[in-house]
Structure formats: structure tokens, C-alpha cells
């Protein structure tokens, strides 16, 4: 009886899909006929200037509120850290933010920053570091020198570095607490293998980190010519230029050698993997290596992903798995961005009893777009959505300067954002269909399910050879 019901639900879904396909695909609602003029907006272009030592600055004034935003993008990252020091980039970022400066111990800086309500944070990720400082414009005279000193002469007070390491170790102890965290980490490890993109810190690597490592990391990667500043707010360009010259002018430019980061070759571990944990919902993630940030087909891929599973409720996978079936609250696809090669992935959390069914339906959605391509009106919806919301890249000055800084950081020309718009406009159905054929590879899938294995609705062996993994040991 039970089995029969399950089957009929799946059949009903497939039948409904067929029925829908036969109907006129755009229903006539009164609102779909509303047409609007194209948004006419020439967003302000930030001023770009470069100090003699190579520090690049983007700036836009904004006098709406008496505030200033400042963000520093630093060419540094975990990918440049040797495997036995895994976790160093994060510790260096934390140590820089919390560890004081050459002239001021950490407690004093904390007190100063918080007494003025300055917002100050930072982090070093895989391929970039970002530090930001927001303050009231009346406090800029205090805040900006502090920010500059932290970037140039961080103290890395050993008490704070040790604290950062100890907290990272506690975080490692908690690495298996949350199923979402498990599936993200283990999936990356499976697909990337030994590549730094798939790496996580270990008790051993974290335990080896010292103040000297953080200082060395800073000395190696933090130089005026590795930093792009993005500034907006209630000040003028002349004042900013002279202040930055005073604060950063004496900082010497340096040659920095970056270790070569390999291009991930192929999916390191295709196949089906499962991890047992006593949960009532299974975390599913499948996919394979995707494209790098500069891939010339990336605009077609963006449109493809919007239609496939990245465009919210209008996308296919969400319509099928969530709206039609009620099998997931959160489901979708993504092509992640990375310099040397991101991932294509599909993710879903579904109750234990629909694990295999949801996975099968997700796979079917990908297969279907590969086999039959997209429809013209899906293309229109995706392009309209991307192009009409483009204005939200420019609606606030801090977003504008940060977008320009980020494009330059990635090595794109200054007008890349406008070029992207033109490229999206030019994407055709044929481009998207070709991207689906070229960048979706069901034969290369790594499939990972984290949940209560013995209660799955069926064995996962129908998706391939299944290996059951154990969770990594915690300290």
C-alpha cells in the first residue's frame, strides 16, 4: 500500500510535467502585459587613483548620511598556504583584526574602536582577504589612521593569536554538529581531493600555528601594491587623497611571489557516498568541477543556472522539488566562482523518507535540460531578471566602489560590469543549450548524502557504487 502511494506520487509529478509542457507556457495574467521603459540610469563612476607605492583606491562621495565606508581587498588567501599550515589564512585575518598594532595593544584598540561605534571586521578566505571599516565621518580622523596601522603594522599580539587558534580548535571540535556543514566540507574534499580548494584545517595544522606564522603571512602578502581600497561616503576626493598619502605613502611597495595554484584536473572521487547521522532529514549534494571565473561561456552558464536551479522559484529544480512535490524547503543549483575552477553543484535537504526520490528528481531535472534544452520564454525570464535587477549593483555608493574593486581584483577591465550586461543581452537559447551540454556531466557526479542511512526510502545503489564514509575525528 505504502509503496503504491509513493509510486503514484512520482507518476503524478511526471504526468503533470507532461501536461504542462503541452499547455501554452505563458498564462495570460493581466500583469504580464504591463510594459515599462528601460531603466535609464547612469550610475556615478567611482574615481580611481593609485598612490606612488601602487595602492589602488576607488572612491565615490556620498553626502546622504554623515558616514564613511572603507574596504580593503588584499591579494592573499588560504590557497597560498602549505598543507601542513592549513588554517593559517583565517588565523592571520583574525589576528590582524583583533591583535593590536605596533603602537597600541589590542585592549586599547578594542576600546577605542568600540567607544566610537566604529564597525571594523575582516577575514581572509581562500583567494582573497577583505577588511572593512565603517565610521561616522566625524570620527574619520581617529578611525582611518587606526585602519591604516592595522593593515601596515599589525602587532599580532601573541595572546590574541593563541586565542584565535584555540577558538579555531573549538570550532573544529564542533565540525560534525551540523549536517549542512558536514555535507559542504566533505563534498568539497571529495571533488577537489588534495587541491587547496578542498582543504580543511586539522587539529595538527592548527596546533602548529604560531604568532610567527601570522607575522610571516602578513609580511609576505600585505603590501601597498597587493591592496585595493574602496571608499565611499561623506568626504571629498582631495581630502581623501592627501590623507591616504600621509598614512600609506611611506609604505614600501614589494615584489610578492605567489605559489602556483594548480588547476583542478578532474573530479577526484566520482561515485555515490553516504554518511550516517541520526537525523530526520537528509542533506544531499551532488555535482562536479565547474568553470573558472574567467571562462568565456560564463554568461551563458549564468543564464543556464538561473533556469536550472539558481533563479529562485522560477527555476526548474525548485518548481519540481519544492513547489510541485513539497519535498524540500531549500533546493537548487549553483556554479561557484573560483580562480582555477569552481563547482557545479545541486543541493537539497529532504526528509529521510524522500531521500532517493528527491535525488532522482533532481538528477532528472539536470538530464532533461541536457536532453531538451531550455524554452525561449525561460530565456526571456532569466535575462529580464538579470538585466532588470542590474541596477541593484549600483544603488548604493559602497556597493559601486566595492564592485569596481572586486572586478579589478579578479583581473577584469574597468568596464567589465557594463560588458557583462551586454554579454547577458547577447545570450541565446543556442548558447544556453550548448552550455548545458558542455558543463553538465552526469557521468562525473560525486553524490553525497548525509542522514539516517537505514531509513532512506531506498538504497542509493541505483545511483552508482555506494561507499559509506565515516565522519572525521574531532579533537
Amino acid at each position: 500500500m505504502k509503496k503504491h502511494i509513493r509510486l503514484s506520487i512520482l507518476t503524478a509529478t511526471v504526468l503533470a510535467i507532461c501536461l504542462l509542457a503541452a499547455l501554452p507556457s505563458v498564462a495570460q495574467n493581466p500583469y504580464s502585459r504591463w510594459k515599462f521603459d528601460p531603466i535609464s540610469f547612469n550610475p556615478p563612476k567611482p574615481e580611481r587613483f593609485v598612490l606612488d607605492n601602487g595602492l589602488v583606491v576607488y572612491f565615490l562621495p556620498n553626502h546622504q548620511l554623515p558616514v564613511v565606508t572603507m574596504s580593503a581587498l588584499v591579494r592573499a588567501g588560504e590557497v597560498y598556504v602549505p598543507a601542513d599550515k592549513a588554517g593559517l589564512a583565517g588565523i592571520a585575518g583574525d589576528g590582524l583584526v583583533t591583535g593590536g598594532t605596533a603602537t597600541k595593544p589590542p585592549d586599547e584598540i578594542d576600546e577605542q574602536i568600540e567607544s566610537l561605534g566604529i564597525q571594523w571586521s575582516g577575514d581572509i578566505g581562500l583567494e582573497s582577504g577583505q577588511f572593512s571599516m565603517n565610521c561616522l565621518s566625524k570620527d574619520l580622523g581617529t578611525a582611518l589612521p587606526l585602519f591604516a596601522e592595522l593593515l601596515m603594522k599589525p602587532r599580532f599580539d601573541s595572546s590574541r593569536v593563541q586565542l584565535a587558534v584555540a577558538n579555531a580548535l573549538e570550532d573544529l571540535r564542533r565540525q560534525n554538529d551540523s549536517p549542512g556543514r558536514i555535507v559542504r566540507r566533505e563534498f568539497s574534499k571529495l571533488v577537489y581531493g588534495d587541491h587547496p580548494y578542498g582543504r580543511s584545517p586539522s587539529e595538527k595544522s592548527l596546533g602548529s600555528l604560531t604568532r610567527g606564522d601570522a607575522v610571516g603571512f602578513h609580511e609576505r602578502f600585505f603590501h601597498p601594491n597587493t591592496i585595493i581600497l574602496a571608499v565611499s561616503g561623506d568626504l571629498d576626493v582631495a581630502a581623501l587623497k592627501s590623507t591616504l598619502q600621509t598614512l600609506f605613502g611611506s609604505w614600501k611597495k614589494a615584489d610578492v611571489s605567489y605559489p602556483e595554484v594548480a588547476t583542478p584536473g578532474t573530479n577526484a572521487s566520482p561515485g555515490v557516498y553516504q554518511i550516517n547521522k541520526d537525523l530526520n532529514q537528509t542533506n544531499i549534494r551532488f555535482g562536479h568541477l565547474g568553470i573558472d571565473r574567467h571562462n568565456p561561456d560564463r554568461h551563458a552558464v549564468r543564464v543556464l543556472n538561473y533556469i536550472l536551479g539558481g533563479g529562485g522559484f522560477t527555476s526548474r529544480m525548485i518548481a519540481k522539488v519544492r513547489s510541485d512535490s513539497g519535498w524540500a524547503y531549500s533546493v537548487g543549483t549553483a556554479f561557484t566562482g573560483a580562480d582555477k575552477g569552481g563547482l557545479f553543484l545541486a543541493t537539497c535537504q529532504t526528509k529521510t523518507e524522500t531521500t532517493a526520490k528527491a535525488l532522482a528528481l533532481m538528477e532528472w531535472v539536470v538530464e532533461d535540460v541536457r536532453a531538451h534544452g531550455i524554452r525561449e520564454e525561460e530565456l526571456e525570464t532569466a535575462k529580464d531578471a538579470i538585466l532588470n535587477s542590474d541596477v541593484f549593483n549600483y544603488d548604493e555608493p559602497d556597493k559601486i566602489v566595492e564592485n569596481y574593486a572586486w572586478e579589478e581584483y579578479q583581473g577584469f577591465p574597468p568596464d567589465q560590469l557594463q560588458k557583462d550586461v551586454e554579454a547577458i543581452k547577447a545570450v541565446t537559447k543556442a548558447d544556453v543549450d550548448a552550455a548545458a551540454a558542455k558543463y553538465l556531466h552526469p557521468d562525473q557526479y560525486t553524490i553525497l548524502a548525509v542522514g539516517k542511512i537505514d531509513a532512506f526510502d531506498s538504497l542509493l545503489s541505483k545511483f552508482g557504487n555506494v561507499k559509506t564514509m565515516t565522519l572525521p575525528e574531532t579533537p
Binding site: A12, N29, P30, W34, F41, Q64, L136, T314, T381, F392
Partner: protein, 514 residues
């Protein structure tokens, strides 16, 4: 479509000061307000910097307005409000409407027959003879339901509401259900104002809760995602269920059993009662003209009738007269949550509590962070927040919660001791002048930043308008905050941080077999 429920994370305290002390910088906030005859309130801030607008709707209804048998109604209705109207989301509403009714009655009939079947099974199991067998009837009802569903599926214009806004450039499109309020927000290019007004009034007046039963499953799946499989959230559910024994705030998240039995007709009734123009505030901030917004709102919403105000929540939580302790076992590392009852937003001490939060847990110089994370190193994080923690303050007496992540080998017990030591200090030693001034400066800075984004500003004025009946409530906070004294802090801390007013929850690890 996601719930605004904030457990286990530091809830941003809504900070509200206008202008400032002598050293501070004044900001202007020009909010234009109009109340339509049907009671709908519209707030507008004109900001012509970029051709965009942020829209934020707050309805005065949330999970505190539910009752047994209807738990989860506010949240599920929030999801259902994305399913369209008589004209949006359908290929033929005249065919669809009777089939939706038919689906409801078939599901009611199936549930009734399945209950009977359970009874028959029980009767057979104890040896009663001649028990009827209704399995053929159940199968037939299910077959009919399947047919109806297939036709209904063919009549749906799937996710048309989202598609419409997305095609028009929507950004940050979402909604959230709280305990005393439900919100809907989206950023759009500002030339879409006429479309927005038309669609939103249609959603208020003519919603169709199609695809109801699949969405019910989605809401249950959301519970599994955010609660059932996350240790600290499970702990929190038990904590508030223990701290509150009477008030509806006792239910942190709707129970699966309740949601699974909600029906479309029940939610249609809930919508009629609570989604009336007189229970709604709309705020728009961006490149719009207030007069045009008011005119269009009158044209679009003016015809929607006012509804009688439903009864407010009358249940008053009885005073707690002794410490309560609970344990939640879960396959995760230890965690500690401690809650103290405190007053509602309308209490004169509300601002004193906001200052206490800041003193204790905001930033690296806060007392708990300094003591537990930096000096003693017994915790890797500590935070405090109000539960439920609405942006403009909670309508009813709420809970001040402390969350601590103990750092091994320290235990939740170690962390409890350290927490109580700091709470004792703040209750007995007057806070220094500089420390208090630091907090006031921070709150002022945060207030100014809270006006930065269009959506942030729209949300803030809408929430204060909905909570206090007048958005200008937020402008009064500066003067009231200036008057908070070290003695106030000590007095309020002393009456709050007592053992008998406290509920303590501990997450205790158990390992699942692998």
C-alpha cells in the same frame, strides 16, 4: 518565504537615537505618512539617488495569534501568500476554484476515513469480530484526489508571482513570520510602482491559496532544516517551552503535527481575520514621490474593506517562582542557553534592557566577552538577545537569553558560574560613566547606520509604526536613552537576574552510531 526566527545567533538590537549629543552628527529623517479611510498606513521616504525603491509591508499578526489546532497558521499563510490571486498564478480560475474546494473536501474525507481505519485496526487487534473494512473507500477517495490534483496542476501558472517580480528586476525578495508581525519585502526599479501597488492590493483582496498541501510539506521541511537537526535550536525550543508555560511565546517553532493538519479553508479564514488594511503598514523608500504613492495606494487598496479588530492575546504569563532546568540530548558538542523573563517594549525600562544587552555582550570590550572569551577562555562565543526579539521590541513580556558555546575542557557548568558572576556584578556595582557613554555612542552610531540602506530604513519605520502606532516612537528613544543612569541599570538587572526568574538549558552530547 523564510522565517525570521533568530535563535542561537546574536540578534541585532534595534538601536534608535535621533540627532545626538553635542559631539554627534544630526541626520534628517523626512517620513511622510498617510492613513487611508480603511485604516491602511503608508509611510514614504523620498530618496531619489538611484531609480529604485524598497518596499516593506508589516501585518500585525504572527504566531502569537494562533491557537491549538492552528499552530503554524501564520507561517504557512506567509508561504501561501506567494501562490497568486484570482488572476495571477492561474490558467483558468473559473475551472480551478471548484476543484480547489473539491480537493479540500476529499482530503477531509480521507483523513476521517483513515482515522476510522485506525480504529478498525485497533478493534481487530484486540479480537473484536465483524469489524468493517473501509480500505476500498479510502483507495477510491485517494484515486479521486489524484485525478483532481492532476487537473489542478495543469491549471496552475507555476510561481507566477515570483516570476513577475523577478522579470521586473526584483532584488532581496522575501518574507518573514514573527510572533507579533509578518513582513513582506522586495526592492524593485522605482518605475514599477504602479505594478507593485496593483499586485499587492490584489494579493490582499483576492489571494488564492493554491498548491496548499505541497506547501504544507515545505513548511514541515523547513522545521526539519532549521530546528530538528540543529542542536542549539532544539535546545532553544525546549528552553522557551519551559520558561513560558502559558503565553503563546512558549512555542518557538510550529509543531509538525499541527502544521500537518492545517487545511486551506482554515487559512482562508485566518487571512480574512488578520490580513485587513487596518492591520497593515506599508513603507516605501526610494526614488518615488510621496503624493504619487498615496494616490496609487488609495486607488489600489482603498476599496479593500476594513475588518473588525480581532481579540488581542489576553493570556498573561504567570510569574516564575523558581529556577527551571532542562536538558536536551543531541549528537553535537555542549551548549548553554539561559533565559530570564523581562518586560515588553512598552515598559519604561525597555531602553534600560537595551543598554544592559550592550554592556554584557556587544563587542570585544563587552563584559561577558571579556570575561569568558578573552580572560578566562572558557567559552568560544557568548551572545545575548531578546526572544522573540522583534526589531521594534516585543509586544508582550519576553525573554532575555544568553547563549554560550563552552570551550573544551570547560563545561556548561563552568560557563554558568562565570555568567552569573557577571550578572551579579551588573546588579550590584554601578556601571562607570565612560562605559555607559561608550554604549550610548555605539547605539547612536548604529542608529545612523540603520538608515543607510533603503530597505533597512523602510523596515525600521514600518516596524515601529506597526508596534507603537507611530513611527516617530523611534525618535523619542534618543532622549529616553540619554536619561538611563547607572542606578537604572543596577535596579533593572537586580530585579531580572534572579535565580527564581531563570530557566537554564544545557545541550548534552550523545553520539549517533556510524
Amino acid at each position: 518565504m523564510k522565517q525570521l526566527r533568530l535563535a542561537g545567533c546574536l540578534v541585532a538590537l534595534a538601536v534608535v537615537i535621533h540627532g545626538a549629543t553635542a559631539s554627534a552628527q544630526d541626520v534628517t529623517l523626512d517620513v511622510k505618512r498617510r492613513v487611508l479611510d480603511n485604516g491602511m498606513t503608508i509611510l514614504v521616504v523620498e530618496r531619489p539617488n538611484a531609480p529604485v525603491m524598497s518596499t516593506y509591508v508589516s501585518y500585525k499578526v504572527g504566531s502569537a495569534n494562533e491557537w491549538p489546532g492552528m499552530i503554524g497558521a501564520a507561517h504557512l499563510l506567509e508561504h501561501m501568500m506567494f501562490k497568486g490571486t484570482h488572476t495571477l498564478g492561474t490558467r483558468d480560475y473559473t475551472r480551478e476554484a471548484p476543484l480547489l474546494d473539491r480537493e479540500d473536501s476529499l482530503r477531509v474525507a480521507i483523513t476521517a476515513e483513515e482515522r476510522k481505519a485506525d480504529m478498525y485496526t485497533f478493534q481487530r487487534s484486540v479480537g473484536i469480530s465483524d469489524v468493517p473494512d473501509n480500505s476500498a473507500l479510502v483507495a477510491s477517495l485517494k484515486a479521486q484526489l489524484e485525478t483532481v490534483r492532476l487537473v489542478l496542476d495543469s491549471l496552475v501558472d507555476k510561481n507566477a508571482y515570483e516570476a513577475l517580480y523577478n522579470r521586473n528586476g526584483a532584488d532581496g525578495f522575501n518574507a518573514g513570520t514573527g510572533y507579533d508581525g509578518t513582513t513582506y519585502y522586495v526592492n524593485l526599479p522605482s518605475n514599477r510602482l504602479p505594478l507593485y501597488m496593483s499586485v499587492e492590493s490584489d494579493r490582499m483582496a483576492n489571494p488564492v491559496l493554491r498548491e496548499f498541501y505541497a506547501e504544507r510539506d515545505v513548511v514541515i521541511e523547513e522545521r526539519r532544516l532549521k530546528l530538528d537537526n540543529e542542536g542549539p535550536a532544539k535546545l532553544f525550543e525546549q528552553l522557551v517551552g519551559t520558561a513560558f508555560i502559558a503565553h503563546p511565546y512558549q512555542i518557538y517553532w510550529e509543531w509538525k503535527s499541527e502544521v500537518a493538519n492545517l487545511t486551506r479553508p482554515k487559512l482562508v479564514e485566518f487571512h480574512k481575520r488578520y490580513y485587513a488594511p487596518n492591520r497593515m503598514v506599508l513603507a516605501i523608500v526610494g526614488d518615488v514621490k510621496a503624493d504619487e504613492v498615496f494616490t496609487r495606494a488609495q486607488d489600489a487598496f482603498g476599496k479593500v474593506p476594513r475588518e473588525p479588530d480581532p481579540d488581542p492575546v489576553v493570556t498573561v504569563e504567570p510569574p516564575q517562582q523558581g529556577e527551571r532546568r532542562i536538558i536536551q540530548e543531541f549528537d553535537a558538542e555542549p551548549y548553554l542557553s539561559v533565559g530570564y523573563h523581562k518586560t515588553a517594549f512598552s515598559d519604561p525600562d525597555d531602553l534600560v534592557y537595551r543598554v544592559i544587552h550592550r554592556l554584557l555582550s556587544d563587542g570585544r570590550t563587552s563584559r561577558l566577552y571579556k570575561s569568558m572569551v578573552i580572560d578566562q577562555q572558557i567559552a568560544s562565543s557568548v551572545s545575548s538577545y531578546d526572544y522573540p526579539g522583534a526589531q521594534a521590541g516585543d509586544l508582550y513580556p519576553d525573554l532575555m537569553v544568553f547563549d554560550v558555546e563552552p570551550k573544551s575542557p570547560s563545561t556548561p557548568v563552568d560557563c554558568e558560574k562565570a555568567l552569573y558572576a557577571e550578572l551579579e556584578k551588573i546588579s550590584t556595582i554601578p556601571v562607570g560613566k565612560d562605559e555607559l557613554q561608550k554604549i550610548k555612542n555605539r547605539m547612536e552610531s548604529d542608529f545612523i547606520w540603520s538608515l543607510y540602506s533603503n530597505l533597512g530604513l523602510a523596515g525600521q519605520i514600518a516596524e515601529y509604526e506597526a508596534r507603537a502606532g507611530d513611527w516617530r516612537y523611534l525618535l523619542t528613544i534618543r532622549d529616553r536613552l540619554a536619561k538611563v543612569t547607572p542606578e537604572d541599570i543596577m535596579r533593572v538587572a537586580k530585579k531580572t537576574f534572579t535565580a527564581e526568574n531563570r530557566t537554564v538549558g544545557t545541550l548534552v552530547p550523545i553520539k549517533s552510531e556510524s
